[in-house]
Amino acid sequence: MKSLKYILVVLWGAFVVTPLLWALTTSFKTANAVTGGPTYIPYLQYEPSLAGWRSLFGGAGGIDIAKPYIDSLVVTLSATAISLVLGTLAAYGLSRFTYKAGFVKNADLVFFFISQRIMPPIVLSIPFFLLLQFLNLLDTKIGLVLVYIALLLPIAVWIMVDFFDGVPRAIDEMAMLDGCSPFEAFRRVVLPNSLPGILVAGMFCLIFGWNDFFFAFTLTFTDTQLLPVAVVALNSSVTPWWSLSASALVSVAPLILIAFFVERLLSRGTLAGAIR
């Protein structure tokens, strides 16, 4: 029974790391090593080369990764930051006050935010294309940030409403009795107690922002190019597997670090409060 447990986790662990290890070993191969059939261990099975990694910095047969990397960072971080600010404010309002406009009440407003996640990217892509064309924002970072806010804001509102519902109302009521305005109560008392929730919301925004492909693919062309689009552009019948693998690893590396962070929150029990 006990060893079965270990066999199972090792099996799944092996499945999880296989694509990443395959990419790692492939990134050190040359054209000859790839076309010679699948091999795994450098030196023993093939002579490793740094060609794939050199191609990331303008070497032959790959993509120059620096610009898309910076574009991706700028767009993802801006959209995450704006979504967090707007989302936290809206979520606090929805958690603490009662809104009523006709038949629309708080629950409907929360549902409206969350329901945006149902929208398939393809449904939005045509109107987004025309909208950005109208605003003269096609192929720009600002245009993508706008679109990503629509994707990330629902996530931020969703996580933060649940989180604020778990923060005792007594603390902001006390602050307001002491003469704080609702906004001061929010900023000075509630916000400092909400960092775990904001962290979790921020991480999910980063994951969904950094990993988007379709909008970056349909709304930008040459001036702005995000990482996933740049890497997928290498995907063809004559794909240089070594450059592809190196650029894939470099692209997914920063978010893999987030896994360590999520595990820490998870094991401390912080996540349980933030995701329900």
Binding site: Y6, P127, P182, V231, E263
Partner: protein
């Protein structure tokens, strides 16, 4: 505080986010509905009036309905497998196991990686002669398999990649749920002399019903948009074997530039998904909660 001043504060919290979302999503959506009633295509671009002609076309479009059936099967199939695997993995690393935190980090990693980028890597893995999938399975006497070139295998391959990518999401939510469970019900079950299997079905599983429902619905919503993996791995092929609804609309709209028709397809797709997901959500609540609380 003044009543009026308080009202202003209330609105100041909610409105910036709400208005921006409305502006970014609602107006484009209304515009799509208008476009779907036009004959906009590559030859005659523009908003003329075509009435419901496009919708009549959608109704008779066998390729669309087939893609919808295929999408539903793939989405439900992958989500169920993800749920079972995610639950099992969460139980495995919940309590006493060595290197617990290492396993947890490891099991979370795939959901952090960019789906399209990993799909490109998977495509090299599935390569029939140069990829490791057939090579490694060959060691245990299996294969070779036509991963991306036969209809059935291509569907299985897309599902496999989706399972690799998103089982961690189920794992994460269910493990977070497990960690937050109170101890008392487990002590009570132990005192009653319940074994691990009875404890699971009588205590753990019912206590995690709300988390389970939430996790399955979130994943179904995300899976109902499936297209990027398909785009990279198979381009919908061989033939249309892996063509999902999103990918079909992509071909019609952004490749053939039949904007009006693609808009009608999009609106139909959206409405069907909202209806189906609502029904599934209601059914799930019934399945998990059953007659126990009602």
């Amino acid at each position: 505080m003044q009543q009026r001043e308080f009202r202003l504060y209330k609105l100041a919290f909610l409105l910036p986010g709400l208005l921006i979302l409305l502006a970014i999503i609602l107006f484009p959506l209304l515009f799509t509905i208008r476009v779907s009633l036009s004959g906009w295509d590559a030859i005659v671009p523009g908003l003329d009036w075509a009435g419901v002609r496009n919708y009549a076309g959608v109704f008779a479009d066998a390729r669309f309905w087939q893609s919808l059936g295929r999408l539903s099967l793939m989405a439900v199939g992958t989500v169920l497998i993800q749920y079972v695997l995610g639950f099992a993995l969460a139980l495995l690393v919940w309590r006493d196991i060595r290197f617990r935190r290492l396993w947890r980090v490891l099991f979370l990693i795939p959901m952090m990686t960019t789906p399209v980028i990993m799909s490109v890597i998977w495509r090299t893995i599935f390569h029939e002669s140069l990829g490791p999938a057939n090579d490694l399975l060959g060691f245990i006497g299996l294969g070779p398999y036509p991963w991306l070139t036969s209809a059935g295998w291509a569907v299985a391959s897309v599902m496999l990649v989706e399972i690799w990518q998103w089982t961690p999401f189920m794992f994460l939510l269910l493990l977070a749920g497990l960690i937050s469970l109170p101890r008392e019900p487990f002590l009570a079950a132990a005192i009653d002399g319940a074994g691990p299997i009875r404890t699971f079905f009588n205590v753990t599983f019912p206590l995690l019903a709300p988390v389970s429902i939430g996790a399955i619905i979130i994943r179904l919503i995300e899976a109902s948009k499936l297209m990027e993996t398909v785009y990279v791995l198979t381009s919908g092929g061989p033939g249309t074997a892996t063509e999902t609804t999103g990918y079909y609309i992509y071909i019609r709209g952004l490749r053939d530039f039949q904007i009006g028709y693609a808009a009608a397809l999009s609106i139909t797709y959206l409405v069907i998904m909202i209806v189906l997901l609502t029904i599934v959500a209601k059914l799930l609540v019934r399945v998990f909660v059953g007659g126990k609380t009602a």
